[in-house]
C-alpha cells in the first residue's frame, strides 16, 4: 500500500524547464508547491571535471538511464516496435533541471505562421494543398497572445541576441535583455554570403550569456566562456541558462517549494473528471507514496506526459484507425539532413572553440516566408551555421568517398579537423494520422509499467523539404570562399540510431477542439480541469526551430492558468 501524504496545493511531475518555471511562478504568487523529480539533484559543483567528451557526450552521463526506462519504436504500424536499447536519435533528460542542463541554448520564438498553420495554409493555397493524412492543426493560441510569455522567458534566462530581428522572423515588444554573442570568422562568412544573396541573416538568439546578467528575480550569472563543451554538458560557470541556476533557486527561496528528488511518478489518481493526486516511487527504497493535491501538473517531457495519461487511463487515447481520441496524437520530430560542407584548403578555423548557441542563421526559407505554390511540401527550415565547439570523438570530418578507417581515414580527419564549415537546415516536421504514441503491448520499464511506443517515419513531404533546403545551403556555402563544397540533399527512412535532435513533439497537443486536442490554450486538460500538461508534447506540429523558446513561453502561460484556476476553478476557456 502506498503511504498517503498530507495534501498540497500543487504537485508538479518533472523538474526541467517546465517544472522549474511553473514552480517559481506559483510559489512567488504564494502557492505551496511540491516538485517531484525522478533523478538526482545537481548543481554547478558537479561540473568540476565536465570537459570530458567520453563521459558526457558519448556515455551520456547526464541522460536518462535506459536500463530503467526507454521507448519502443517502429517506422510503421505493420512492423513490431522494438526497444531503443541504447542511445541514438534523441537524448532524454533526467535529474534536476532535466534536459535543460545539457541543452545548447539556441533560442527561437517560432513564427506567427506556426500557431495558425492550418488557417494560413488554407488561406494562401487552398485546402487541396494539405495532403491526405497530414493532420495540420491551429494551436488554439496566436503568436500575439503568446508574445508576452516569450518576453518573460527571455528576461528570466537573459537571452542574448540582436536588437531587432528581421521583420519576417519576430516582432518583439521588448528587445532581448543582453546583446548578441561574439562573431567568429565562420559566422561572418555565412552572414556575408547570405546577405549577398539577398537573404536576412541574424545571430542565433542564445541562452549562453553574451555578458554578465542579473534577471528580474535577482539571479546573477556570468558571461559565457565559449568553452566548447556545451551541448550534452552542464555549464560550470552557470552561464548557460538552465533551470538549476535560474528558476529553481527562486522557487526554493520563497520557502513554499518542496523539492523531492529520486521520486518517480507512476500514476495520476483520478475519478474520471478530476485528479486527486499522484502516486510515486521513491527510487532508492522502492517505497510507494500517494501525494494528494488540488492541481496536478505534468512537466515530465513528451514521453512521460503521454505515458502517465495512458497508464492512468485519463483522457481519450488516440486511435489512428478511426481517427478518434486525442492522447498520443500528432507525434512529430525535426527534419534535419539538408546540409552543405564547405572545405577550405587554404585556411583553418578554431573549430574547438564555441558555445552551444553560437551561430548565424536565416529564415528566408522557414515557415511560409516563401511561396510554396509550386512546391511539394509545406513549411521549411531555419538555415544556419553554428559554432558549438567540435570535439574529436564525435566529429570525424571526411570528404565523400573517404574510407571509414585506416591510413586515408586518419589523414583525412586530421587534415579536415579545422577546415570545414557546415551549413545546415533545421526542418519543420508536419503531423500525420499514422505518426503517434501509444503504450507498447509487450515491453515494460523496470517497475513493470508499459513503455511508450513510437510509430514514426519520414514522409514524401520531408524528403522534398530536405531536397529544397539543401540547395539553399549549397547556394550560401558556395558564396563563402571555400575550395570545394559538398551537399547532402537526401534523407531516407527515419532511423533511430544516429543522433539527430532531441526535439520530440506532440502527444498531448493543445487546440480549441476538445475532440482532437488534449489541453486548451492554458494547457489545462479538457477532460480533467485540475490537470495541466505542459511541454513540447503540446505542439500540434514541430516548426523549423529548436522548441524550448515555445516550451518556456507555454510554461509561463500554464503558471498563469493554474493561478487563475486556484482562484476560481472550472474551465479557463
Amino acid at each position: 500500500m502506498a503511504n498517503k501524504l498530507p495534501k498540497v496545493n500543487v504537485v508538479i511531475v518533472g523538474m526541467g524547464w517546465v517544472g522549474g518555471i511553473i514552480a517559481a511562478e506559483l510559489t512567488k504568487a504564494g502557492h505551496n508547491v511540491v516538485g517531484l523529480e525522478r533523478g538526482k539533484s545537481r548543481g554547478t559543483q558537479d561540473y568540476y571535471h565536465v570537459h570530458d567528451e567520453l563521459r558526457y557526450a558519448t556515455r551520456y552521463e547526464l541522460m536518462q538511464d535506459l536500463s530503467k526506462e526507454t521507448i519502443t519504436f517502429r517506422n510503421t504500424e505493420k512492423i513490431r516496435a522494438l526497444p531503443m536499447r541504447t542511445y541514438g536519435s534523441f537524448l532524454m533528460g533526467d535529474g534536476l533541471g532535466g534536459a535543460g542542463v545539457h541543452w545548447n541554448g539556441q533560442y527561437y520564438r517560432f513564427l506567427p505562421y506556426d500557431f495558425e498553420i492550418y488557417t494560413k495554409t488554407v488561406e494562401r493555397y487552398g485546402k487541396s494543398k494539405i495532403p491526405e493524412g497530414m493532420t495540420l492543426r491551429d494551436w488554439g493560441i496566436t503568436y500575439g497572445e503568446l508574445e508576452p510569455y516569450f518576453v518573460k522567458y527571455e528576461q528570466m534566462a537573459g537571452i542574448s541576441g540582436d536588437k531587432e530581428l528581421p521583420e519576417h522572423v519576430s516582432q518583439m515588444s521588448k528587445p532581448f535583455p543582453t546583446g548578441p554573442m561574439k562573431q567568429t570568422p565562420g559566422m561572418k562568412l555565412f552572414t556575408e554570403s547570405a546577405k549577398k544573396l539577398g537573404y536576412h541573416p541574424y545571430n542565433i538568439p542564445s541562452a549562453n550569456l553574451s555578458e554578465a546578467y542579473t534577471n528580474p528575480d535577482g539571479i546573477e550569472r556570468a558571461a559565457c566562456q565559449y568553452c566548447g563543451y556545451c551541448e550534452r554538458f552542464g555549464c560550470e560557470y552557470g552561464s548557460k541558462a538552465d533551470p538549476v541556476v535560474t528558476v529553481l533557486p527562486v522557487a526554493l527561496q520563497t520557502g513554499k517549494f518542496e523539492l523531492r528528488t529520486f521520486s518517480n511518478v507512476t500514476e495520476i489518481i483520478h475519478d474520471g473528471k478530476k485528479a486527486t493526486g499522484i502516486k510515486y516511487v521513491n527510487v532508492p527504497t522502492g517505497e510507494e507514496y500517494m501525494q494528494p493535491a488540488d492541481v496536478v501538473i505534468l512537466a515530465g517531457y513528451v514521453f512521460t506526459n503521454v505515458r502517465l495519461l495512458l497508464v492512468s487511463k485519463l483522457g481519450q487515447p488516440y486511435d489512428p484507425k478511426s481517427d478518434t481520441g486525442s492522447v498520443g496524437r500528432n507525434y512529430a520530430y525535426q527534419v534535419n539532413g539538408a546540409s552543405t560542407a564547405a572545405f577550405y584548403e587554404d585556411r583553418e578555423f578554431n573549430m574547438a572553440m564555441g558555445a552551444g548557441a553560437l551561430g548565424s542563421c536565416i529564415d528566408d526559407f522557414n515557415g511560409d516566408n516563401f511561396d510554396h505554390s509550386s512546391l511539394n511540401f509545406l513549411h521549411g527550415a531555419n538555415i544556419r551555421f553554428t559554432q558549438a565547439g567540435l570535439r574529436p570523438i564525435q566529429y570525424q570530418p571526411t570528404p565523400a568517398g573517404t574510407p571509414k578507417w585506416g591510413k586515408s581515414f586518419k589523414q583525412a580527419t586530421l587534415h579536415n579537423a579545422n577546415r570545414v564549415l557546415s551549413i545546415a537546415g533545421q526542418g519543420a516536421c508536419m503531423p500525420y494520422r499514422h505518426h503517434y504514441l501509444d503504450l507498447d503491448p509487450e515491453y515494460k520499464d523496470a517497475l513493470g509499467i508499459p513503455l511508450i511506443r513510437m510509430t514514426f517515419d519520414f514522409e514524401q513531404q520531408d524528403i522534398e523539404l530536405v531536397k529544397f533546403i539543401a540547395r539553399k545551403t549549397k547556394e550560401i556555402a558556395d558564396g563563402m570562399g571555400a575550395t570545394t563544397t559538398q551537399m547532402n540533399d537526401v534523407i531516407k527512412q527515419y532511423n533511430i540510431v544516429p543522433y539527430q535532435s532531441t526535439h520530440n513533439t506532440g502527444g498531448t497537443i493543445m487546440g480549441s477542439d476538445p475532440k482532437t486536442s488534449v489541453v486548451n490554450n492554458y494547457l489545462q486538460m479538457w477532460d480533467a480541469d485540475n490537470v495541466f500538461i505542459c511541454g513540447a508534447s503540446n505542439f500540434p506540429h514541430n516548426g523549423g526551430y529548436n522548441p524550448t523558446g515555445v516550451v518556456g513561453a507555454l510554461a509561463y502561460r500554464t503558471a498563469e492558468g493554474v493561478g487563475k484556476y486556484l482562484q476560481k476553478g472550472g474551465s479557463l476557456v
Binding site: D52, E53, T58, S67, I393, E442
Partner: protein, 257 residues
C-alpha cells in the same frame, strides 16, 4: 578588459569567472569548481615559467602502472592492439592506436559499466529487427568484443594459417574488411556489429581524455591540433587566424591533495 591581459587569456578568464561565480551561483555550491580553477591556473603559470618540450618522450624508466589488464586475456589484448592499429595506424603524421594506448583503453572500458551495458535496456524479448531500430542483440559489449576477437584469430588462421597478430598488415586489413562487410560466419558472432564496436572504441581511445588510458600524452589531440579542455576561449573566439595551443587534460585541472 585591460590590453596587457590578453597575453594570458586563460588566467584572465579564470579571474573573471571567480569574480562572477561567487555572486552568480551563490558561493556555496560553486566552491569545488572555484577550487579547481585556482589550482589549474596556478599550474598553468608554473608551466609558462619553465616550458617543457612536448615532443620529448617520457623517460623509459617512467613506468605506467595503469597499463595492465582488467578484462582481456593476453591474446585478446595483442589482437586488439594489432586490429586497432590497422583502424588508426601510425604514419608520418604521428602515432597510431598502439602507441596511443588504445588497447588499454578498450580493456578498461570493457571492465567498466559500459562493458556490461549497465545503462542500456537489455530486457528480453529479443527479436530480429529492422536496421532503423538499432542494436537488438542480447550480447553485452564485453561478450561481443571477446567473441569477436577470438573470431578474428580463427578467421585468419583458417585463411592464412597464422593467427591475426602474425599476418601481414594488408592481410589484417582484408580480415577486418570481411568482418566489416559481415562476410564472416563464425559461431554466431555478428561480425559487422563487432567491427563497429571495435571501430568506435578505437576512435574513443585515440581521442578521449588520457585519464581513460588512451590518447597517451595527449598525442591524439596534438595530431589534430585539438586544445583539449581549456577553461575559456573568451578572448580568442573572434580571431581570424588559427591558434595552436598546448592541450590541457583533466589532470591539469585537478587539485591534488
Amino acid at each position: 578588459m585591460a590590453k596587457d591581459q590578453s597575453q594570458k587569456p586563460q588566467d584572465e578568464s579564470r579571474r573573471r569567472f571567480l569574480k562572477y561565480s561567487g555572486t552568480a551561483i551563490g558561493g556555496v555550491v560553486v566552491g569545488g569548481v572555484i577550487g579547481g580553477i585556482i589550482g589549474s591556473s596556478l599550474k598553468k603559470t608554473d608551466k609558462e615559467e619553465k616550458p617543457a618540450n612536448p615532443e620529448t618522450p617520457a623517460p623509459s624508466s617512467d613506468r605506467d602502472y595503469n597499463q595492465a589488464l582488467m578484462f582481456f586475456t593476453q591474446d585478446q589484448f595483442l589482437i586488439t592492439e594489432a586490429a586497432s592499429e590497422r583502424i588508426y595506424p601510425m604514419d608520418e603524421l604521428g602515432p597510431g592506436a598502439k602507441e596511443l594506448g588504445v588497447a588499454f583503453f578498450i580493456d578498461h572500458q570493457m571492465a567498466s559499466a559500459y562493458g556490461i551495458n549497465s545503462r542500456d535496456y537489455m530486457s528480453p524479448p529479443f527479436y530480429p529487427s529492422e536496421v532503423s531500430q538499432g542494436y537488438q542483440l542480447s550480447f553485452k559489449r564485453k561478450e561481443l568484443l571477446a567473441l569477436g576477437l577470438d573470431a578474428l584469430n580463427e578467421y585468419s588462421t583458417d585463411t592464412y594459417n597464422k593467427p591475426f597478430t602474425k599476418i601481414a598488415p594488408e592481410e589484417q586489413d582484408a580480415v577486418l574488411t570481411a568482418f566489416e562487410k559481415n562476410e564472416v560466419k563464425l559461431k554466431g558472432v555478428p561480425a559487422a556489429a563487432f567491427f563497429n564496436l571495435l571501430h568506435n572504441l578505437t576512435i574513443e581511445g585515440v581521442y578521449s581524455d588520457p585519464l581513460y588510458g588512451g590518447n597517451k600524452n595527449m598525442a591524439g589531440w596534438k595530431m589534430r591540433n585539438y586544445p583539449g579542455n581549456q577553461m575559456s576561449y573568451y578572448d580568442v573566439i573572434e580571431k581570424e587566424e588559427f591558434i595552436k595551443m598546448e592541450p590541457l587534460s583533466l589532470h591539469d585541472h585537478l587539485e591534488l591533495g
